[in-house]
């Protein structure tokens, strides 16, 4: 890992825009709603019974006869890899497999809606590898039978290097259908110039002293999580009753006009402009904002707990080059490769040993690069400690689609006021 490979400040500045770009682009393309209706019409669902776990022979059935084709089509979110793609170049050099890397995933709901018709018809979607956030759509992909089962015999680096926490997740126990790309923490960010006391807990988001200066996320799952955690309920264990209570709590925050607005990634700009002083925030965004603009925002994991999300690499069941795809997945779990990715994307790295690697890289670097890498290696936002992990919870997981609809119906009226 050479220093020359670090992003220059303008690139890092661009990084803070990452999530803004992701969601806004599709949200604005209003016309596609019409096309969506046509596409959706007449498409049958797949999951007669939710396939939370794969049949025992599924792995063998899927992987038998699959051959290396020398090419992978990879669909990922924007700014999730150095634009020069050094990691992919190394992969091609080592294996001879070429990678067509496209930043086509902007938001989960629309991505699912886009590829669902082809997958349901058993047709390839043009990608062999895609990065899916654990959440409603992950379950939808899984329960529809759209994800290829992972053959762990082909994932030795993952087995060796991935943190244990990522091997027993609620959304994909034992990594039957996915392995993580990167994770992030949803916590609280605040501006210490405006707020004189330290913010430590979720209850601070209900403090009327900050009336009109608090920003919450418009994503129903993210919003609901904070309502649940504020009530002392772990999202993953929550019931419909808990949802009602959490919704009440969140409505109270809204009717008392404590919440200024419900934001997508634009919360980061609202924080920067001083429109809000405290906001529900994603860890990587705050770190990047501070690094790139010299802002002094604080990010805290609240006492009551926070949530963690994981973007996962999955192989669509209709992929043309699944073997090449799984080779790439495993390749990315080599410690130096994983460290190199983490140095660019600034989100939680699923490979603990990458921390040591980044320290080594820092020792080899000099000047600003050295400071930058050192701050990365010590950042709890890239490498949370055990205590941090203990406070982090995963999203609500839904047993049935109707449960998920009920959840949406409970929390949506808060955002769509």
């Amino acid at each position: 890992m050479s220093a020359s490979h670090l992003p220059d400040p303008s690139v890092i500045r661009g990084l803070t825009q990452r999530r803004l770009g992701r969601r806004d682009a599709l949200r604005m393309s209003g016309l596609s709603a019409l096309g969506m209706a046509l596409a959706a019409c007449g498409v049958q669902g797949q999951g007669a019974k939710p396939a939370a776990s794969a049949a025992p022979d599924a792995v063998a059935k899927f992987w038998t006869g699959k051959t290396k084709n020398g090419h992978v089509d990879f669909a990922n979110w924007p700014l999730y890899m150095d634009p020069k793609k050094p990691e992919l170049k190394k992969f091609t050099a080592e294996t001879g497999i070429t990678v067509n890397y496209q930043e086509v995933i902007q938001e989960m709901g629309p991505w699912f809606a886009k590829v669902q018709p082809q997958l349901a018809a058993g047709q390839p979607i043009g990608y062999d590898l895609m990065v899916i956030t654990n959440g409603i759509q992950f379950s939808q992909f899984r329960d529809s039978g759209f994800l290829a089962p992972m053959d762990h015999a082909k994932l030795p680096n993952f087995t060796k290097n991935a943190a244990e926490a990522y091997k027993k997740t609620a959304y994909d126990p034992d990594n039957q259908f996915s392995i993580p790309w990167a994770s992030g923490i949803t916590g609280i960010a605040y501006n210490p110039d405006k707020i004189k006391r330290p913010i430590t807990k979720l209850a601070d988001l209900w403090d009327e002293a900050f009336k009109g200066k608090i920003g919450m996320l418009s994503d129903t799952q993210e919003l609901a999580n904070f309502g649940l955690l504020a009530n002392g309920v772990k999202p993953a264990d929550s019931t419909a009753d808990d949802w009602e209570k959490a919704a009440e709590k969140l409505k109270e925050q809204k009717t008392k006009k404590i919440v200024r607005n419900y934001y997508d990634q634009s919360y980061i700009d609202a924080l920067g402009r001083g429109e809000v002083w405290i906001a529900q925030a994603w860890s990587g965004d705050i770190f990047q904002k501070n690094v790139s603009e010299g802002s002094n925002l604080k990010f805290v994991i609240p006492e009551e707990g926070a949530t963690m999300w994981t973007d996962n690499m999955c192989i669509p069941i209709t992929a043309k080059n699944p073997l090449d795809a799984i080779m790439l997945m495993d390749f990315l779990y080599q410690v130096p490769i994983s460290a190199s990715l983490a140095e660019y994307i600034n989100y939680v790295c699923p490979v603990p040993a990458a921390q040591e690697q980044i320290r080594k890289d820092a020792a080899a670097a000099s000047g600003e690069d050295k400071d930058y890498l050192e701050s990365l290696a010590d950042s709890p936002l890239l490498f949370p400690t055990e205590t941090d992990y203990a406070k982090l919870h995963y999203y609500v997981t839904f047993a049935t689609p109707s449960e998920q609809q009920e959840f949406q119906k409970t929390f949506e009226p808060i955002v769509l006021g």
Binding site: A37, G45, Q140, R273, E275, K409
Partner: protein
């Protein structure tokens, strides 16, 4: 042979347009109607069951947003007429040789994408932006006052974004008025105000009508302005529909809401057309 050709010609001429409408309007509308009556979820599939309950539920959940959209659309349209009429009038009667230049200047901002223009409004109306900062420094507004997230910001954005669609039709109507008609009114002892009221304004009405059609419908259905400039209590029906389609994959609710919106808009437009007189509508259509 030639006669057959001649008889067929009109049909051949309307064929491409009709096919286009059939393929990209009738078929999707039909599909959407079918979707709105289906039941199920995206994983297990939606089945057609004449599930009218979706309409009932959708109206129960999102009535507020629908009514709000109609009110915003109405206010925006009225403000547009008030702003656009004088501008169009001035360009048509006093623009002289520079008429096209003025029209071009009016259209110039619209060479920039709709979304970008709206986002720039976000900067202008920001708490620390060029509008509010001086007002706050001068003590004219309280510290906590803000524009972004308020209905005023959303309606302001709508008015700004749809201004040319009101100015142009009114301008076209005014521009066609023969100046001699106005002179005749003056010769018959009408003062300028009376001449305007009795001659110019009625002749401009078809333009206003066209302008209203071109602005009321899209402003009511718009979702970009409320998404970018709005707050927790300014959600418009377009936002709800796009969220149901593109985020929740809840196609029946989205389709049902779309149909209700189309129905309400059609009823509104027809009522308006009746009130204003169908003759004018025909005139507009004939132009």
């Amino acid at each position: 042979m030639n006669r057959v050709k001649r008889q067929l010609a009109p049909y051949l001429l309307i064929l491409p347009g009709s096919l286009w409408l059939l393929l990209f309007f009738v078929v999707p509308m039909f599909t959407m109607l079918s979707l709105s009556l289906q039941e199920g979820d995206v994983v297990n599939g939606y089945r057609f069951t004449f599930h009218w309950q979706t309409y009932v539920d959708a109206m129960e959940d999102y009535r507020t947003q629908l009514i709000r959209s109609l009110i915003y659309g109405l206010i925006a349209t009225v403000v547009l007429i008030v702003l656009a009429f004088p501008a169009a009038y001035w360009i048509a009667f006093y623009g002289g040789r520079r008429k096209s230049t003025y029209l071009f200047l009016l259209l110039l901002p619209f060479f920039v994408s709709f979304v970008l223009r709206t986002i720039s409004w976000k900067q202008i109306l920001a708490d620390q932006g060029p509008v509010l900062s001086p007002l706050r420094d001068a003590g004219l507004v309280p510290d906590a006052f803000h524009l972004l997230g308020s209905p005023a910001a959303v309606i302001g954005g709508l008015v700004y974004n749809f201004l040319p669609f009101m100015v142009l039709p009114i301008y076209v109507a005014l521009e066609r008025i023969d100046p001699r008609v106005v002179e005749a009114a003056r010769d018959l002892y009408a003062n300028p105000a009376l001449a305007f009221r009795k001659v110019v304004f009625p002749l401009a009405l078809p333009g206003v009508f066209a302008g209203v059609l071109m602005t009321f419908v899209p402003t009511t259905a718009d979702y970009v302005n409320s998404e970018v400039l709005g707050g927790p209590e300014t959600t418009m029906i377009g936002q709800v529909i796009q969220k149901q389609y593109l985020v929740n994959s809840d196609y029946p609710t989205a389709s049902a809401l779309s149909f209700v919106l189309i129905a309400v808009l059609l009823i509104g437009v027809f009522a308006y057309a009746r009130a204003l007189g169908t003759e004018d509508v025909m005139k507009v259509a004939a132009r």
